[in-house]
Amino acid sequence: MRFRWWHGALIFALVLALLSPLASSSPDGLERVAEDKGFMETAREAVFEVIPDYVMPGIRSEAIATILAGIIGTLILFSIGYGLAKLLRTKGEA
């Protein structure tokens, strides 16, 4: 298979997923506002959990669990984005 530009782009996204344990764990903008303005506690727990908070459950090392979650998500989104585009294009031609 010939190497195409988007193979490189996908590899780049996967490399970013490898860096995910380095991400800041500080609250994000909305969480910061919610804490400062006193409405953080109104947040409800999720109805169900699959890979909550980007940490693969059942893995002792949090860094590895985060990387795995990142790689799984990146591959899922590539597949969905690619698949959706392909589907829309086929429909558009018909």
Binding site: A23, D28, G29, K37, A46, Y54, A69, Y82, L88
Partner: protein
């Protein structure tokens, strides 16, 4: 900026879901008319890149972090409706699999980070480019500005949803959300400009897609 369940009221969440569903349905129609062979892998890698980049929270002032959203980048590269579709894919997966953003708040999150951010990003970039001409440096500048504004305006939309839900007064939510996201948006602008400049240097033809 992913709203968890509980931050917005049932009516606000419901309106968000209805508006998001309508826009996504239209986005699917609008996108398939423009879909070419090149866009297929581009949509895949953009969704993958945006997801991965969103995981990388960067610290800003005061023990707070922010992350890339990516709607402006997607909209600049593929148009606002494709931007809406890509962001919807990312937000749905984040919500259903990673429990980031509430299930009932999904519509509101798609509205803020998908629809509002894509259209602001796209039209600010477009407007700026047509006002000042499409010079290469200008494209980066207008891309960065568009990305910054997309985050700030999305955060203002979020502030309105919180206020309408009665969780926090608008006079409190608006300056707080816009203020912190004005900082986070600098990261968004920098990443967007960096990716655009990389694409310009390596695959400038991808930037032409929107003009065609």
């Amino acid at each position: 900026m992913h709203i968890p369940d509980g931050f917005i009221s049932a009516p606000v969440a419901t309106v968000g879901c209805v508006v998001a569903a309508g826009c996504v349905a239209h986005a699917a129609k609008a996108t398939n008319k423009k879909m070419g062979e090149k866009q297929i892998p581009l949509m895949g890698v953009l969704a993958a890149f945006i997801f991965a980049a969103q995981m990388l929270n960067f610290p800003i002032a005061g023990g707070t972090s922010g992350h890339f959203i990516g709607a402006a980048l997607a909209a600049i590269l593929l148009g606002p409706w494709a931007g809406v579709l890509i962001m919807t894919c990312v937000l749905v997966v984040q919500c259903l699999i990673f429990q980031d953003g509430g299930l009932f708040a999904l519509g509101a999150n798609i509205f803020n980070m998908g629809i509002v951010a894509s259209f602001i990003g796209y039209y600010v970039h477009r407007g700026d480019a047509s006002l000042f001409g499409g010079h290469r440096k200008r494209i980066l500048g207008s891309g960065g500005l568009a990305a910054w504004l997309s985050v700030v305006i999305a955060s203002i939309a979020c502030a309105f949803e919180l206020a309408i839900s009665g969780i926090v007064p608008l006079g409190v939510a608006l300056p707080a959300m816009a203020g912190v996201h004005a900082l986070i948006g600098i990261g968004e602008g920098a990443i967007t400009a960096a990716v655009l400049s990389f694409i310009m240097a390596t695959r400038a033809d991808l930037l032409e897609i929107q003009k065609a």
